[in-house]
Amino acid sequence: MRLKKNPLLVVAGLAAALLTTGQSVNFYEEALPTSMNPLYAKSMVDTRVNELVLDRLYYHSPINNDLTSRLVSQWQMSEGGKAMKLTLKKGIKWHDGKPLTATDVCFTIDAMLDKGTPSPIAVAKRSVFSGCEVVEDHVALVRFTKIFHNPRYRLDFYVMPAHVFEGNTAISPDHAFSSRPIGTGPVKGSKGRRGVSFSKVPNKHHSAKIPQMSLQEGADPLVQVRTLQNNGVQGIITVPPPYRADVSASDELSLKSYDLRSWWFVAVNTSKTHLRDKRIRQALNSIINRVELRQLSIGVGPKEKNSPCEFISGPFVQSSSYYNRGVEVQETSDLNAAIRLLKAAGMRKVGGSWQYRGKPVNLKIGIKASLDVEAPDLLSQVSNQLGAAGFQRQQHKISTDDWNRKVLTGKATDYDLIIGKWSFGLVEDVNPLFHSRKGGRGNLNIFNYSSTKVDTLLAQFDGARTDTQAQDAYHKLHEVLAEELPYLFLWKLDTKSAWQTSVRGNNISAYYYWTEFSSWKYVQ
């Protein structure tokens, strides 16, 4: 892609001048973190910041994928396999100088088990842990709800400081820790209104070579790239595909793969009268021309090889064991099929616009604002396609705050369609997205979609005794969701970061961006 002159580039130059300071490494993130408390992480930005500031009890080494720990020196199974005795390394300190002890490990587990901690991440852990006991100053006995295979895999949580919460295990998302956390990670972080600043904290188990870092919220991707080229920042976490050629053409910059399992969607408000009938949702699916959308918003041609963007027909990426390859992707539009479905569902076209029960259908469409940077104009293009097919529309960009406050909590019911993206860690657990909102389940169900058939399949997945049972449940789920369409599934879009080559030793792997931060160095 050839980049045109843009007045925003003046801003890029200014940003470069302002941001370059000494040995500080500055980088653009997709957004500011919403919370630096790992129990309330909602976005990939949040999880990445957690990596810098805190330590997981166990994690997979980005080098050889070994399950490893910076905090634990020894472990031993106990109580017939239902408990594990963990001996912590001595000499590790929190950022405020207090020592890390077994009390902190048990405090974190107790906080997750405390029903006064309204964290979905904690809720998921309640089926894993039954308690924790401080045996000695540096020895904790972690109890599980049952015997697990490879139980250390379950110990992937971030350890939090008991003293900061004064032992109160009911942790509120509004606690000051969320913006100024005390961790044991290689840096301490402080969130301001316009960014997050990090400064290194030497510790027994970390020795960061970069003394200062600054996270800025990225806006226009062209400005981001130009600022990077001008050395105003040293890195960009997410570079949209149209700008990658420009980055890779420079000897001073390198593109780094950050292979997450992420997919994009248009959530459909099945509670709206005019969207309740699945034939109407199927019609919308037939109207959407994914090939054109991909070309116009991401810059990928119809026949382009090695596309960073691959269509999907259900809630998994195509490479996943859970993806049902028997369910075909709808790549281009089929307007005749759409018209048939709309008419069969009782819609009528009057004066070029669709009406339902005598009223014009006006679709309120939203997109999470930060995604508009990654896939520019996707909102407009989706809206245009629906408009060309005869729907009136309104377009809205949804701020991160509104996304967290309204969309994720199922309160954005005034919207008809919402464009978003989900990213997954090691586990592609889609239960929070599609289960009915009840009993702590379905906590990310955007439009409160509810289907007995879907709930049954999700329960089958949760209760599966064997791997094949779990796989079969999700294959069937894929098939049902592709028919019911609470989401119009779009694509998997790969993620690439760009860094100045002067930033070295940056081992980035799929789920561990900053985990090896101590090996990063900045050679000016």
């Binding site: 064991s321 990213s423 005794r465 779990a470």
Partner: protein, 440 residues
């Protein structure tokens, strides 16, 4: 010629011009060495002539079309295509072996798993060079008595063949022919009964992948016996690498990471030293291999990754300058052609780190090499991608292995079978990790 050049030109012209700020080249490679590279040979105006358009199939990783097209005109190109396909299947077999052992090996097998998976474990051991362990598993009495006819037949065939898969007669791939492809049986090959709920798991038999690798190896040798050095480079880790010198022409090297026969011999020597646990003197190759010259300052007790990256950029720049000299003018495609030399150096560094048992540098260079090529319009080279996927399966990282394999299954139809081995590993690993919360 026009088509390939135009693609190359398009790729090299996308984005801004290269910002070349490194004024000094640290590891100077002589002009004599640079002129021995395939890049220098194709940079001579008219060097590829009308055959350049035929290379488009290979450029697009369409091996079947390349065998039909360019393969019909050049025995060396034909042999090379088969050699690379053979290597692909060997990497796929390694991937399957690691995935099977990480799923059904002694620490990972579950009570509900079918007894018949022991057959797969046996084949996996054979792929990794442990024939005794293979025999121990394949000869388990419960396998001979299996209710799955396919397993009974396979176990009988392996036993009857003295644990030599090439003599089992399993999977009729058709007669070896240099101008064609083998017949591949759709996977899953067997449905194995689990010990719970009357369920079964579909699996693929890596024996087919071993046989596919052998089929292409024989086709390659039939087309051109001197292709063996390329075959050796992607053989199973326990197989021997000869000391024969490579003697390939441009058709054997064009658009590949080894810029010259000297580079190919250097990388084979690294691999030979690793397999034989013997030493290697890089200096011995500095008269014939640009990669050896560039890599030499970066290796000691470990491989200095940053040094290799710098040396790669330097080598690319020097070669680009040489291409300008050879062709008599600056040309938009030179940077792209020279980038193959950088890729070769990264891969040589990665293999050298493997020889030194420097796991961290090997892992980093493996990732960097893949990143480097994935930013190119041509995408990841299938062989490098499959080799990384096999490494990921070995390190119990099925996510990345699945992504890599998924990107390559269209390259050769027999690769789809490997999906089944990875699928079961993925399910096992992720279910061990437990629930997760999606993030926006």
């Amino acid at each position: 010629m026009v088509r390939l050049l135009s693609v190359v030109l398009m790729v090299s012209c996308s984005g801004s011009p290269k910002q070349e700020s490194r004024a000094d080249v640290q590891n100077a490679v002589s002009s004599t060495l640079l002129s021995s590279t395939w890049q220098a040979q194709v940079a001579v105006p008219g060097a590829l002539d009308e055959r350049e358009s035929l290379w488009m199939d290979y450029y697009n990783w369409s091996y079947d079309a390349a065998i039909d097209g360019l393969g019909a005109q050049s025995a060396e190109a034909l042999a090379r295509f088969h050699a690379e396909l053979s290597g692909l299947y060997r990497q796929a077999a390694l991937l399957q072996a690691h995935a099977i052992l990480e799923t059904y090996g002694p620490d990972q097998i579950r009570k509900t798993d079918p007894d018949e998976v022991q057959y797969l474990v046996g084949v996996a051991h054979w792929i990794l060079g442990d024939v005794q362990a293979a025999e121990k598993h394949i000869r388990l009495p419960q396998l001979a008595a299996s209710s799955v006819a396919g397993i009974q037949k396979a176990v009988g065939a392996w036993s009857g063949a003295g644990m030599d898969p090439l003599k089992t007669g399993l999977f009729d791939l058709g007669a070896v022919q240099t101008n064609g492809l083998p017949t591949v049986r759709p996977a899953p090959h067997y449905e194995l009964p689990e010990k719970v709920d009357d369920r079964s798991v579909g699996v693929s038999d890596p024996t087919e992948t071993i046989l596919l690798a052998d089929w292409h190896e024989r086709a390659a040798i039939e087309a051109l016996p001197t292709i063996r050095p390329l075959l050796e480079l992607w053989s199973f880790p326990w197989q021997k690498i000869s000391e024969d010198k490579a003697s390939l022409s441009t058709d054997g090297l064009f658009l590949g990471p080894w810029s010259s026969n000297g580079d190919l011999d250097f990388v084979r020597a690294i691999e030979r030293a690793k397999r034989n646990e013997q030493g290697i003197d890089v200096e011995n190759f500095m008269a014939v291999s640009p990669a050896a010259v560039a890599l030499a300052p970066c290796v000691g007790e470990k491989v200095d990754v940053d040094c290799v990256l710098g040396a790669g950029s330097d080598l690319q720049k020097q070669l680009k300058q040489e291409l300008k000299t050879v062709s008599g003018a600056e040309d938009g495609r030179h940077a792209m052609l020279a980038s193959y030399a950088k890729q070769g150096l990264l891969q040589a560094g990665m293999r050298y780190a493997g020889f030194l048992k420097d796991e961290e540098s090997e892992s980093r260079l493996r990732r960097i090499a893949l990143d480097d090529m994935s930013n190119d319009h041509r995408g990841k080279a299938p062989l490098a991608a499959l080799a990384k996927a096999a490494w990921d399966a070995k390190t119990r990282n099925p996510h990345h292995a699945q992504d890599l394999l998924h990107g390559q299954v269209q390259v050769a139809s027999g690769l789809k079978a490997a999906r089944y081995s990875l699928d079961v590993l993925y399910l096992r690993v992720t279910r061990d990790v437990g629930g997760g919360q999606p993030m926006h």
